[in-house]
Structures are given as C-alpha cells and as structure tokens.
Amino acid sequence: MSKKNIEKLLSDLTQVTAEPVRKGLSEDIKNRIPHKLIPHKGKDTINIMIDLRISKLTAAAAIIITLILCVNFLGDKNTESLGLVQESKLLVNYFLSGGRKAIENNEYTGMEKFYNELRKQGEDVVYYGNTIKHGDSESILMRIKTDQGKYRIIFGDMKSKTITAQELIELQSEMLLKK
C-alpha cells in the first residue's frame, strides 16, 4: 500500500465522517457572544484574566490588606484615624457571621463611641454594653441624665425614651429580677 493510497483513503474517510452539524448549534454559540467584547489595544498590551475561587476569609483578608496598602500608599500612615480598620473588621465580621451579627456588632460599636463622646463632654452617662442582649426592648443599654433631672434611656432594641428617676429605679429593679 503506497503513501498515495493511504492519503486517498484518508480523503474518503474525511468525506464519510463529515457528519451534519446541528443547525441550532451556531445560534447557541452566537447567543453566548459577550455584550462587551474587549477590544485588542495593540501589540504592546496583554490581557490578564484571572478567575479565582477563594474562601470568604481569604477574600476579606485580601480586601483589608489592599485597603490598608492603598491608604498607606496615598500618604496617611494613621489608618485608624480614617476608621478604615474598623470598617474592614466589620467587613470581615460580615463575611464570617452572615451579616446580622456584624450589624449587631456595628450597633454596639456605635453606641460605645457615643458613650465615650458623651463622657468626654462631661455628661452623667452609664453604658451597660454587651451585657444587654441585642434587640431586648426591656433592658437598658444606656442611660443619660438630662438637665431637668430626668433620664434619657436607650433600650437594647435601640429605642429611647425619657423617664423619671422613679421609673428608672423600677426598670432597673425589673432588669435585676430578670437576671
């Protein structure tokens, strides 16, 4: 059998194995054409496309590091002052605990800041902090004495009202009894 014979056989085989292609296939493919094709910018450019699958923790860490690096790069070494680290921590909490807990933590953090601010201003304020369950509408999270001798109180569900000293004592008694 010569080389030409084999080539002839290959040519015949090509013809008989040229099976019809499903007509809808071309349409299926065309439907996948991206709406925004990325144009080629020229010979000196390259396209880098990365498809990464990483854990939530790694993603959160990467975001924090990137943010801190960006801020440092832009010249402000004190990243704390921008609240960036705090926000990043919140982001990590959000990833790790599924949102709700992160929001709770954020509210407590906000209240803590508020409490510190009031203390700085010399207000008569008491903060019960994390001992109060989030959403508890009967427990006092913070109390602030007003000029009229009354008390402005903030409950665990973040609702507030102004009460008298007597009412405050009653509320605190109930809280102690519950505990």
């Binding site: 056989l9 015949d12 085989l13 194995t17 296939l25 054409i33 991206p34 080629h40 390259i46 396209n47």
Partner: protein, 182 residues
C-alpha cells in the same frame, strides 16, 4: 472556505460583535467535526465547540497575526479537548454508539467500507501527537504551516509526524489485510 479572514481578524480585534458572529458561521462546523473526530460524543463536542468560541472571544488579544485565525482557533480547540481529556477519561463520557456512525447513507455508498472503518480504528489508536497531525492536516485540511501553528511545533516536526503516522497506518492496514487473506 475562508471568507476574507484577514479583515475578519481585524474586526474581531476591534470588538465587533458582528465579526464574532461571522467567526461562528465560518468555523463552527469545522471545529465541531474536528472535536468529534478526536473521539468525543455529540453532546461533549457541542459543549466543547461552544467553549472554543467563548475562549476565542475572551482571548482575542492573543491573535498575533491576521493570517493565523484558523490555526489559532484549532489551537484553542486542541487545548480545550486536551484539558477535557485530562479531566475525565474519554471512555467515561463517550457513548460507544456515537463513535462511528457507519449506518448512515454516506457509508452505504462507499465500496471499501471495511477498510475505511479499519483505518478509522487505526487513527484512533495512534499516539495523540500523530493522531493530531492526521486529523488536522488530512481530515481538517490545514496546511503543514497551519498545523504547525495549531499545535505550536515547528513545520519540520509536523512533516516528520505526518510521515510517521502514515507509515504506522499503512503498516497496520497491511497487517490486517494479510490476516484477512489468510
């Protein structure tokens, strides 16, 4: 077959969606048949063909020369098929009944059907490197230069592989013939 491939490549590079559709019309049958001839089933071949074009659109920047459009597509197809084969053993997803459709009318008209079926079997049994050049050069009608571009080796190596593949096929068919004659 290649309708103004140069201008098509230029339009593709400028993110022309019509050019992307034109690319499909021109090559989807070729690419599908190439993948089928590599031994994939109907469904797997369709999926892979879709992937080939999708990758082509995504990596259009890699198309260095306008004239290399066809071999470039075949290179993507070859790599996609190779990756798929690595992921899964071919036998695991290939329906044996899809391998050779010898019941079709096109086969009935052929006089030397047995010989062709034998040839097909021998091509499938060739080492991957030799099988690729046979499929690309003889069955997909790529030139030696295009075949070389499609599998990223020199033209000399392609010529050598073609010769080795033909020798091997000839030898196998002769052995089979002798056995039949006995």
């Amino acid at each position: 077959m290649d309708k103004q491939p140069d201008s098509l490549a230029v339009r593709l590079k400028s993110a022309d969606r019509l050019a992307a559709a034109e690319l499909v019309d021109l090559y989807y049958e070729q690419i599908y048949r190439y993948i089928r001839r590599m031994g994939f089933g109907y469904a797997a071949s369709e999926d892979l063909t879709q992937d080939v074009f999708f990758q082509a659109w995504r990596h259009i920047a890699q198309l260095r020369s306008d004239k290399m459009l066809r071999p470039w597509l075949y290179r993507i197809a070859t790599n996609a098929a190779r990756t798929q084969l690595r992921k899964k053993r071919r036998d695991a997803f290939l329906d044996e009944s899809e391998l050779v459709d010898d019941s079709s009318q096109s086969w009935e008209k052929i006089e030397n059907k047995e010989l062709l079926l034998q040839l097909k079997k021998e091509i499938d049994n060739l080492p991957t490197k030799l099988k690729q050049v046979v499929l690309l050069h003889y069955m997909q009608h790529l030139t030696i230069a295009e075949t070389a571009d499609a599998i990223c080796v020199g033209q000399g190596a392609i010529k050598s592989r073609v010769n080795r593949a033909l020798r091997k096929l000839r030898k196998q068919l002769e052995i089979k013939n002798e056995k039949n004659n006995e």
